[in-house]
Each structure stands twice: as structure tokens, then as C-alpha cells.
Symmetry: D2
Subunit: 207 residues, 4 copies
């Protein structure tokens, strides 16, 4: 297989991902976004903590979001890291799971509810166990791990027949772009600039 | 500020990110991609390890890539995790840094060269310390932490005046989409399906 | 408070910890240890994976053990790290929890049982949910998070009245010393030397 | 090999570790400890951050310490975790390395000095690159990775001929016990009880 064909497939896959992600982020509900932003801003104003949780690649998307919230001086932590303190009443747990069924994320969300924290679910499935447990849901579509051959959501939408990015890729990239856009909005609302963020940026950046 | 304007800004930022990322991934050099794929496939065939490194959000992008390589039965590790073994001769270090100057990533790349491993740099700056140290460079453009007001690369390209996503966001999302597309290509080349990958997917997914 | 008294307290606390740990590791049951070693060796011989899990500081103790198992060429992973693959039938999950009640560890152990993996619990409480779920238990005493004023185990044993190390410290250090000793035993059984281990030791050691 | 001999070796190794650790912690210099405590308390009083760094198992010892500092309401972070902010002037970097030569730890210590932070090195080798770079050194002996056959420190002291715990084990356990004892001292100095610490203890404890 020559360079040409290689390039073709990688290029096509990039275009497919961008297309699927574009379609999915278009479908995000503005009211759901606004309420989410309100909850974040309120937590910050009241000195409450925000904890972020997700499994696998969704967890990495959550961490990238948490890092930016830290740059914006939110009191934010990632569940499972060393210095993450107790989740307390009125704190906010942001739980990311495409399927909404990831056992340990759902378990964590239920613990959060017990201590009186608020749970925001970012999921493709608002009626999933995670969605039902949450105080607020932001629906981000994507193909999730639940997808079966016939109902690959993004494939139907796009009418593509080629294998798109595997497993939860589309959900993860769409969520990632959505949360990065939210950061732009939060910067504006909080009157913070990139310079402010840079000052908070880790100076020892280990891998 | 009402819901309408909130929605407007988040929507605009999502569109901006998608646009900047689309422009940047279009510019990725096919020959650079092909050589990178070849190095990965060869390492897998010869039972060599692939180690992934990056600082901050670039490190998270690297981890997401490493997870997929694991799903494709590569012998892959993330530098800094518990069971990451010694990097040895002919192993491949994939080092991700937009600026190509992140001290600890450059330090790691130099250690890799000393032990006879091959270094692939994914960076916006091929002439950076990381780029110069690497055996192979894949250039992915983006605004990096080095960007100054006047020369925000993606802003020039896009002619936008609004604040785009801050800091390294565009590089990170572009690299993320590029590496996810590479996974599609690797699936094809290796004859592996999503079903094969699902079988390797963590069954205990902790946050 | 002068240097003398400071020194006194730190010195006293070190001695207390050493004493409590010594008492607790003396009480570890040889048959439980032998069976544990047998399960590890058998997994290694049959090419099965070992996954290690623990929350908080118990998780750190587990990671330190996993790192040494890697140096001894076990196929070992830490639950929650990037490239940790699916737990499969006949794999071994080593679950560390002083109280044996940590929700997410118990949840993980139950998932492990479902897929046909074997669960080894290292806990102070063999009749805890974790202990009951496990195929094999190694009891390591300590004060655990469950301890109440009256029944601080190590205090009774030692007849001390001063505050010993807080929370799960004694369990964690005792487990840590036990697992490090197990590594010495495994080296002998496998005929591996320190030199062999050094060769596997990470050459890029990021923080 | 029967259960008896197995037990013998594990038991012997546990006793050896405890003995070597006891000898080493006895030799810790009280003045070095007192100055370290003073630096931590002062940072806490002045609202300065403490960052902890270490590679491999020393990094895990550092994390265990950081977790307890968090329980005592220190503003503490682990270098390399998601929400670790910039190290700034007058912050304290606690760098743990038995050999004092671990490249990335030394690199980080030098970055810390550049931004005006204070560096505390916990090492067996005060004249190592890390020791020389530090503002303050606490010497904790152990066999380190640098040890060669003839000069195994703890072996000489103890007159043992059997293989003790491999690589940096003794340094790691000794440092771990030392830092846990320091926590007892800090509790006393700060007037904080175990109950206070429990309230800060993570309620969602993921692996």
C-alpha cells in the first residue's frame, strides 16, 4: 500500500471525525448548556468544589477540562488523584460517560448524591443510570460503547458506510470541543484573559 | 446576560475550534504521517515498545492515543505511569509538545536518544529543541503557548478577532483528531476490527 | 516549642509506627501468604494478568507493589491507568483495603468475579464485603478508617495512649513492608536477581 | 519448597526491612527535621503552595505524604497531576530521590529555583546534584539505586549477607515512615485531630 492510499484513509478519517463531531455539537441543547454554566459559576462564587470524573478516555477529557477550570481559578479536582478532598454538600460532580452506564462512574454519582453534592452528567443517554441519578444532564451525542451495528448513531446521520473512528471516539472529541468552548464562555463571563490563565499554568510540567 | 447570548458565544467558540482544527489537520504532511505509521507498525512487528510522553493537556492527548494503541495490541506505555518499563534500544518514544520546548519532555527525548530509542515528535515547531532532537517530526499546527498577540497562527489564517480557545487548545484538539484518524488507518492496516478492540477494553474502568 | 521537643515527638512517632507495624506483620498468617504467592506464580506461568487496585494511600501501596512485579516480568497493571486492559478469566485482581468496605474497590472486585477472575483481598477485615467477595484473603492488621476510639487495635496491643499515626497509616505501612518482603521471596522463587530487575527499571522516570 | 521455608524467607525479609529501616530512621538528623517542619508550617501560614515530586516509588511515597498534608489543610499538589498549578516564588518543592540524581527530579528542582521557590531534598546523598541544588536537605539513608555490591550501606550496618529488599526499597520505606511520623508532629503543632483529617478525606475514593 503506497503513501497515497495511506494518506487517503487518514485524511478521510479526519474529515469523518470532524463531520460527525460538527453534527453532534450542533445538537447540544442551549438551555442545558446555560444551566451547566450557571452551576459552575455559582459553585465558584460560593467557594464550592467541582470534582470531575470519567472512566478511560472520557476521564481524560474530564481532566483536560479540569485543567482549564484550574487556570480560571475554580476550586476543581479530578476524582482519583492524590490530593482530591472529600466531596461535600453543594459541591458539584461533573460525571462524563457516553453510555451513562459505566459502573464506577454511576457508583460515584450515587455517593455524590448521598453527601448532598450536585451531579451534572455529560452523556449521550439521558435515561441511563447516570442520567437518571444526575441533577442536570447535558446531552452530547456520539457513538458510544453501547452502539450496535444497526444503530450507529453518527453513521445513520452521516450516511457513511466506512468504519468511522472506533468505540467512543466521536463522543469523546465532541465533548472535548464542547468543554473547550465552554471555557471561552467562562473566560468572558469571569472577565479573565489568557494572560491570567497563563499565570496559573504549571511551571513544572512533567509528563 | 441572557440564554441567547450565552448560547451564541459557546456555539461560536465551538465553530471556531472546529474551523481552526479543520484548517490545521488539512495541513498535516502526508509523508510525515506515512513515516510515523511505518515506525509504529515496525515497532509492533518487532515486539518493540512504544512510550508516549507529553506534559499537561498534550499528555492527556498522548494517553488517549496510547489507550487506543493498547486496544490494537501494541506494546505501549505512558511515561510516568506505574508499570512503565525501561525504554530500550529500538523502542519508539512519541513526544507531544506544541511548542517543542517543554523542559521535561525535551529532557526525556534526550534520554531516549541516549539509550538508542527512536523519537517521534508531534509539534508545531520542527526547529524547536524537541524537533531537532527527534528522529522524525510530524508537524501539527495550532496556537501554542508560545503564541504572542500578533502572531496567533490560527487567528491569522481565519481572520478572526474574537478570543479563540486559549493557550494550546487548537494544537491539542488537532493532534487528538489526527491521532484518532491514525487509529482508523492502523485498524485497516492490521486487519483489526472494533470488536477486537472492544475485547481489550478495560472491564474495570475506574475514574 | 524547641527543637528538642519537636525531635522527641517525631522520633517517638517513628518508633511507634515501627513497633505497631512489627507487631502486625508478625501476625500475618503463613498459609495465607503461601497461597497468595502460589496464585501470583501460577498467573505468571500461565501468562495471565495481575491487576492491582486500592483507593487512596492503599492504592499507592498497590502501585509500589505493581512496579516491583513489573521488574520481575509479571504481566501486571494498575486499575485506572491508561493502558490497563480488560480483566479476563483466570486473571488475578489484588484488592487492597484496610476496612474492606471502600465502595469502589468492592465494586471492582465484584466485576472481577463476574468475568471469572480471581480476587485476592488484602484487608484487616476478612468478613468485610471485600473479604467475603474474595477468593483468597491475606489479613494484615492495622488501625483502619473504621477504628473507633475504644477499639483502636494497635493501641490496645501496644498499650499506648498517645495519638499514633492517623487513619490507615499502620495498615498501609504494614502492607507495604509485607509486599516488599514478598518481592524478595518471589525473586528467590523465580531465580531473578536485582540486576535483572534493574534492567527493567524505567529509564525515563518522570515524577 | 514447602510452606515452612516460604514463610521463613518472607518473615526474614520483613524482619530485615524493619531492622534496616529502624537503623536508618534513627540516623535522621533532628536539626534537619526541625528546619523542614518549620518550612512547611511557614508555607501553610503564608498561604504558599507545597509541591511534591519524586520518580517511581519515591514518587508514590511523596504522594502518600501529600495526601496527608491535604488532610491537614495544607495547600499541596503533586507535580504531574491534572490540577497542579504553577510553582511560584516562596512556594516549597519537596523533592524525593534516594540517589539525588534522577534526571527529571533534578530538572524540576532547578526550574523551582529559577522561579524563586524553595527546594527541600529528601535524599541519601546530600552532595548529589539534587542535594546541591536544594535550599535544605533531609538525609534519609537506605540502599539506593546507586548501590553497588560492595557498599550496600544497610548490609554493612546490619552485617547481613542475604539479599535484602532490592533497589531503593529501604530508602522508600524509611522515608515513608519518617514522613508519616512528621504528620503526627504536624497534627500536634497545628492542633488538628484525626477527626479533622477524616472530614477532609476523599468520600469518593476511586482506585
Amino acid at each position: 500500500m503506497g503513501a497515497a492510499s495511506l494518506v487517503e484513509l487518514t485524511k478521510k478519517a479526519m474529515a469523518d471525525i470532524i463531520k460527525a463531531v460538527s453534527v453532534n455539537i450542533e445538537r447540544i441543547n442551549p438551555q442545558q448548556v446555560e444551566k451547566f454554566i450557571g452551576m459552575l459559576i455559582e459553585a465558584r462564587r460560593n467557594g464550592r468544589k467541582i470534582l470531575v470524573i470519567g472512566a478511560g478516555r472520557s476521564g481524560l477529557v474530564g481532566r483536560a477540562f479540569a485543567m482549564r477550570l484550574m487556570h480560571l481559578s475554580f476550586h476543581v479536582h479530578v476524582v482519583g488523584e492524590t490530593i482530591t478532598p472529600a466531596l461535600e454538600k453543594d459541591d458539584v460532580l461533573v460525571a462524563i460517560s457516553g453510555s451513562g452506564t459505566t459502573t464506577l462512574v454511576v457508583t460515584a454519582a450515587r455517593i455524590a448524591k448521598k453527601v448532598g453534592a450536585k451531579v451534572v452528567a455529560i452523556t449521550s443517554h439521558p435515561r441511563s443510570p447516570l442520567g437518571k441519578c444526575a441533577d442536570h444532564v447535558v446531552v452530547v451525542y456520539g457513538r458510544t460503547k453501547l452502539a450496535k451495528k444497526r444503530d450507529y448513531f453518527s453513521r445513520q446521520i452521516l450516511g457513511v458506510h466506512e468504519p468511522l473512528a472506533p468505540l467512543g471516539t466521536i463522543f469523546e472529541v465532541a465533548t472535548s470541543v464542547f468543554l473547550d468552548a465552554l471555557i471561552v464562555e467562562l473566560m468572558r463571563k469571569l472577565g479573565l484573559t489568557e494572560k491570567d490563565m497563563r499565570a496559573r499554568h504549571a511551571t513544572i510540567e512533567p509528563p
